[in-house]
Structure formats: structure tokens, C-alpha cells
Amino acid sequence: MGTFIGIAANNQTDSFIAGQQAASEALEHGKINRPDFALIFCGGKHNPREFLRGINTILPGVPKAGGSSFGIISNNLIGYDGFEVGVTLFQSDKIRFEVFSQGELNVDEYKAGEELGKKIKTELRVDSRALLLFYDSSKQQSPPMLNFATPLIQALEGYVPDTISIAGGGFLADMMLSACYQIVDNEILTQHVIGILISGECSMDTAILHGCQPCSDYVTITKTHGPLVMEIENKPALDMIDELLGPGHGINVKDFAMNLTLGVNKGDKFSDFRESDYANRLTLAVDEPSRSLVMFEPDLQQGSEVQLMRRSMDPHYVGKVIDDMKSRLGSKRPVLAFYINCGGRAKPFSGVEFEDAEEVRKALGEIPYSGFYSGVEIAKVGHTLQPLDWTGVMCLISEI
């Protein structure tokens, strides 16, 4: 029989109808009569309970995983207005999905990662191939804070062997860090991390897309505090950025937030540029009194070498990455291209002239395509699993 994939998305503003319609259309689009598993996502302006209730009128009893998303990506709809929903349905006698979850992410990310890792480890089989990792990005406290993926991943890596391909993303409801939800079967959760273990006659190849290129010398971070990069080359971080940009650059310091990107080269420092070697770290905010940069994650440490990155105004890099992935498939049959893309890369927020998720769709051709817009992305850069910013993570699931 093989694998059937049904994908549907819409932007109905009624949460119940949105869920019901997406589930129904996913069944129809995939010609699915015995759904085995569903990935479900709804925009931050939706009521997740009503959305799930709508889904369950069509898919009662079907195992499900998903949650809030900043936007939805599919063959037919790419949107981020807050009302998009997406359903990806699987029916397969080759690929299995098992869902694990762990709460209290807001209390201790490392512990949550450890507990999730333990649960996954006990269920690992010889044919376990991949792990999709989703988590709540927003701590829901005042003042708002992010849950960090860095300790979560550090803890989890101890329980999951290198042979398992891992990718994921942090859920984000909107740019206001509003309440964010995770869905596991019929439960609506918050402050949870979800692991979807993918097993069977399959594989999951991943690639990162950001299109950014270094545009400065290597500089060394000399002082940090959690996600704060306080000093670079022993100078206040903002002063050093001013220096790197050159005198009279004219960029308002407030505009560094969600724009200024530092790149960490995980490959050979002085060999030719390779996009896949670079981990992008985006500036969340600036702390002007301390002349510091506030990063999304606390992984940049004293001694980290970084470069200032500039965004590509040319969409061609997308096609190159996807074509490269496809060429490495060999005899494997791709069944789903699942794209986890940074919300900041959506066209209205990125400042680039093209919609990268649309460019991905064009490059994929006939391969079924779905995904969501995230807060933070997770993928391997070089051999290191790490949180990423302003990055798209392509997960190509194939039958082998």
C-alpha cells in the first residue's frame, strides 16, 4: 500500500469550521480511508479547543500532534494572519508515529528535555529513524520570556542516538508572545515539549535554509549573561556592532531587534562559504542601557566567534538547497516535505522581496508539502543539534 499523505489548509476565522474543513479536505486530498496519524496546527488567533473539536468531528480517535503556529505552509496556502490552520494526514503501512510529551518547560527546560528523552529512549526500536521536536516558545509570565531550546536540546541529546535524525521548532502564537498551545491526541496543553518518533521503512533528511552570508570579520564574544551578549572584542556589544557596520551607517539601534543576525560558522573558518555550516542567531531585542544584544537563545558564550550576517535578496539559494536534497535521495521515495520556517522569514516581516516558503514549494515540485511558521527552529548544523533563528528547516520524509 505504501504511504498516503493528505494535506489541507484554510484561513477560516471560525475555529470549529476551520478544523472541520481542514480535516475533511485532508482526507479527500490524500484519498485516505484509514488515517493513522495527523499533524495539526492552528494560528494564534484561533481557539485551539474549538479547532480540535472541529477536527474531531472528522477524525475521532486518530492520533494527533501539533499546536499553535505563527502561520501555515502547504501546497495551496501560505499564510500568517493568525487564522490559518493546517492538517497533514498520514496513512501508511511503512511509517509509524509515536508521540511523547513532557510539561513544565517553563520551570526547567533542561529537566523537561531529560524527562522527554527518557520516555523516548524506552520506546526506541531498531527501525526508529527520526524525531520531530516541537515545544512551547513562550513562558507565559510577566514580563514575557522565551523558553530556551538550548538546555532542552542539551538534555535530550543524551538519550537519543546520533543515528536518529532530529529537527523541530518552537511554537509561537504571535509576535505578542500570546498563550501558545500544544495538542496531543485530544489534549490541549501548554508549556510542553512534544516528541514525534518516526519509525519504519523510512528516513528523514534535513537541510537548513537561511540564505544569509557573512559580511564582517570574525569577532569574538567576550562577555555574556544568559541570552545577553554584553561584549564583543571586549567592547560593549552595540558599540562593536556600530564599528562593524561602519561609521554613519544610519541604522536605528531599535531596528537591530529581529533584524541583526550573528552567524556561527561550524565548518572550516576560511574555506569557501557554505550556507549549511552557518548557525544563524537572531537579535530579539537591544538593551540600550547596558549596550547589549538580547538573543533568542543563551547558546552564544564567551569565546564564541561570530560574524555579522546579511540576508540574501535573491531567492535562488532556495532552489539549490532543495535540488541538492532531492539529488541525494537516491532510490528513496519522498512522501512529505515538512518545512519549519521562522516566522520572521515570512515576507511581511523579513524585508526580502520574495516568499521563501513559496520558493521552496516551487523547488519541491510534486512532493506533498506542509509545515508551519515557528519562533525558533531546531536542526543539526554540521554535527551539532542546535536552536536556530531566521532559518527554515526542511524535513524530507521518504519511504526506503
Partner: protein
């Protein structure tokens, strides 16, 4: 050149190119940041303009409530607002406004917002300008009232101008963004909302025109109804109701056989002599006076007036709807007609004025009734029964009601009838005749 000098020269070149690269990168980054900000604004502007262009695709059937609901939804989604609503005046001439058509995100307390009643200061109302609020520290009373009412940090209040007056206000707002350096509400939002306001005004214009048109249509319909009523009344004067219905449905009326009806004729005695004493106008007025009363009497007894021929009034009882009391009703009507004429005669005698006397004849029997011809048609009855009834009238006497044997048989138990014997009727030979009077 020594090695040291060569190294120094190489380092100089490296520094030169590094500085050039830095300068180029700097200008490139500046351009990219500027471009990023610009393209974000342009994209949002085009989203806003698309709301306006999509308006032409909406089928609202010019229903304002449908349009306002759709607009609120589109503004909220496409302009990436968090809350959009229409502030409508609570009552005419009041400065109090209430929110309607609220569109918001899932957690927004819509019920609370719906209870809000806002007073728009008269000075602001009269100014007909939009209000944009992005600054938390703005202490303007209206800004503070709106911020507290709808719990938003950035918002716009845009008046919809219709007929040179504020028709309603569009309110749209955003929460404070944490992950993007959101600029809140910008001037182009105002331009778009004002353009949308123009569309609302245009629809309201259409509605106003429709109201005027509907009133005209109602007026014309009423006129037509009255005209139809007049036509039908006129038709009913000419034809029996049942016959008019048959005519409407079929376009023609089939002549119908009646087994037995009672036909009544009246005639004014001495009409010709009196005609010479009165002017034609006076004569017609006189006859009209009597015939109006006869019409009332026949209507009262459900008798069908057939026609008048000069001073003769002809009617028939028992058609077009057959009835068992046709003879009795006809005789009762005849007595009332006769009594009315007699009463008038007595009064006029006293006044010394000329007067009429009447003789009446009735006969009962089969007839055929219907319409013939297509122009100035009228309902009529035919048959020997009609001829005999006419003979009964001509053989009657002034102030008397003469009935035939067949009528006598039908009314003899209810009226006093006196046999007159067999009298000669023109072309009919000797016929039994009776005078009839009310039971004494």
C-alpha cells in the same frame, strides 16, 4: 624591497581591502535595513489596498449590516489588526456610541467590549477627522477612554462620512508587539480606512436611493391597487361575482342552464305622460333615485340585477348561484320596491309634485344565463320564463305585484295571494295570475 617591507606592503593592502569591504558591507546593510522597513510597509499597504479592491467582489446585496460585518472581518485579518469593530450611534442625535461587528482574536474579551458605551466629544465629532493613538503616555480623554474600553495599545478611530455627517466610526487596533519592532498604526492605515469609509457611504447612498425607490413603488402599487379595486367594482356592477371569477380564470364565460329561477320586472305607470312634464335631466334624476333604492333592495335579498330598459328594471333571483328561496326572496324584494314607490307617491302627493306608480310582475322557471359578445358585454338571461315574467308585469296594475302560477306555487305558503283568474297574455294565451301581498 626587503621581506619586512613586502610584508608591510601586503598588510597595508589587506587593511585597505578590509576597510573597503567594511565600508561596502556597511552601506549594503544600511540599504538592506532601509529596504526591509520599506518593503514591510509596502506589503502591508498593498494588503490594505487589496481589501478595497476585493469590495467589488462581495455580494452584499447592498445590505449595510452584511457589508459592515464583512469589512470588519477583512480589516482585522488583512490589515493585521487584533481588534476591529464599528462604533454605531446608540440613538439618533445622541453622542453615545456602542460597538458592533467586533472581530478579534480567540482570547479577546468580546463580551466585555460589547457592553462598552462611549461618548464621543462633540468637538471631535464635528471635526470629522481620524484619530491615531500609538503613544502610551497620551492623556487625551478620548484616547484614554478608547484604550481602556478596548484594551489595546495602538489604535485608530476613523469616521465614516455620509451626507456630510459622521455616519459611524471604524475602530481598529493592535496589541503591543514584543518580537517585532511594531510601528503600531500608521498614516496609510488611516488612508485605507477612509477609503473604506467612502465605500460604506456609497452603499448607504444606494440604500437611501432604494428606500426612496421603494416608497415610490409602494405608492404606485397602492394606486394600482385602488385602480384595480375600481375596475373590479365596475366589473361587479356589470357581472355577477362568480361570473367575473370565471372570466378572469378562463377568459370567457360559458352560458349556464338554470332549472328554476324567479325573474322580476318593474315598470313605472304613466312614465310617458310624466316624461312630458319633466326635463330629460329631471327625468333621469328621478329614475336614478328609484333605481338606487331598487339596487339596495336586490342586493339585500341576493338578487342579481340584470338590466334596466328605460323605465323598466329587470332582475333575477336564484342565479348565478342557485338557491331554494329564489321565489320568496324575489317576492319580498318586489313588495319592498312597491312599498318604497307608494311611500314616495304619498309624500309627493302631499307636496303637490308629480309622482310615479309602479307595477311589478314575476315568473319562475328555467332560464339560460351568460354573456354574449366581446364589447360592452353584459350578463343576461334568456328563455320563455323571461317572456312570461315580462307579461306578468304588463298584466299587473299600478301598486300591485302580479305573479304567475309557477311563482304562486313556490310562495303561496308565505304570502297572501289572491287569484285573478286566467288573463290573456300577449302571444301566451290565457294564463293564471295572482296578486301577492305580505301575510296580514
Amino acid at each position: 624591497m626587503s621581506n619586512l617591507e613586502q610584508q608591510e606592503e601586503a598588510q597595508k593592502q589587506i587593511n585597505y581591502y578590509k576597510n573597503r569591504l567594511k565600508a561596502l558591507s556597511s552601506s549594503l546593510m544600511s540599504l538592506e535595513y532601509a529596504n526591509a522597513n520599506l518593503s514591510k510597509d509596502v506589503l502591508q499597504m498593498s494588503e490594505g489596498l487589496s481589501v478595497i479592491s476585493e469590495l467589488q467582489l462581495w455580494n452584499t446585496e447592498s445590505k449595510l449590516e452584511v457589508l459592515l460585518d464583512l469589512l470588519a472581518e477583512k480589516i482585522n485579518v488583512r490589515l493585521k489588526m487584533d481588534v476591529t469593530l464599528m462604533l454605531m450611534r446608540v440613538k439618533d442625535h445622541s453622542s453615545e456610541y456602542a460597538p458592533h461587528y467586533i472581530k478579534s482574536f480567540a482570547d479577546y474579551n468580546k463580551e466585555r467590549a460589547l457592553k462598552v458605551r462611549l461618548t464621543i466629544p462633540e468637538a471631535f465629532h464635528q471635526s470629522s477627522v481620524s484619530l491615531i493613538a500609538n503613544d502610551d503616555s497620551d492623556t487625551d480623554l478620548l484616547v484614554v477612554a478608547l484604550r481602556n474600553a478596548f484594551e489595546l495599545d495602538h489604535f485608530i478611530l476613523c469616521p465614516v462620512i455620509h451626507d456630510n455627517k459622521v455616519f459611524n466610526y471604524i475602530f481598529a487596533g493592535r496589541r503591543k508587539q514584543l518580537l517585532q519592532s511594531g510601528k503600531g498604526i500608521l498614516k496609510y492605515h488611516q488612508n485605507i480606512l477612509e477609503a473604506i469609509g467612502g465605500v460604506i457611504s456609497a452603499v448607504q447612498n444606494q440604500i437611501d436611493r432604494n428606500v426612496i425607490l421603494e416608497k415610490l413603488v409602494d405608492k404606485r402599487t397602492e394606486e394600482l391597487r385602488k385602480e384595480k379595486e375600481v375596475s373590479e367594482t365596475l366589473l361587479l356592477n356589470i357581472l355577477p361575482y362568480e361570473t367575473t371569477q370565471e372570466l378572469k380564470v378562463n377568459g370567457y364565460v360559458k352560458a349556464k342552464d338554470y332549472n328554476i329561477v324567479t325573474v322580476l320586472f318593474t315598470d313605472f305607470v304613466g312614465f310617458t305622460a310624466l316624461s312630458s312634464e319633466l326635463s330629460p335631466q329631471e327625468l333621469v334624476t328621478e329614475i336614478d333615485h328609484y333605481y338606487r333604492t331598487f339596487d339596495d333592495i336586490t342586493h339585500k335579498y341576493g338578487i342579481e340585477k340584470i338590466k334596466t330598459i328605460g323605465d323598466s328594471y329587470m332582475c333575477a333571483s336564484g342565479l348565478p348561484v342557485e338557491k331554494g328561496t329564489h321565489a320568496e326572496d324575489a317576492v319580498s324584494a318586489a313588495i319592498e320596491m312597491r312599498d318604497f314607490v307608494e311611500m314616495a307617491k304619498e309624500e309627493r302627493k302631499k307636496q303637490g309634485r308629480p309622482f310615479f306608480e309602479i307595477r311589478i310582475g314575476l315568473n319562475s322557471g328555467p332560464v339560460i344565463a351568460g354573456i354574449v359578445g366581446v364589447k360592452k358585454f353584459s350578463y343576461d338571461v334568456w328563455g320563455d320564463t323571461v317572456n312570461v315574467a315580462s307579461r306578468m308585469e304588463s298584466k299587473s296594475m299600478a301598486g300591485k305585484i302580479n305573479i304567475s302560477q309557477s311563482t304562486y306555487e313556490l310562495v303561496k305558503d308565505k304570502f297572501d295571494c289572491s287569484y285573478r283568474g286566467k288573463l290573456d297574455a300577449k302571444n301566451k294565451g290565457l294564463i293564471d295570475m295572482y296578486f301577492v301581498e305580505p301575510r296580514s
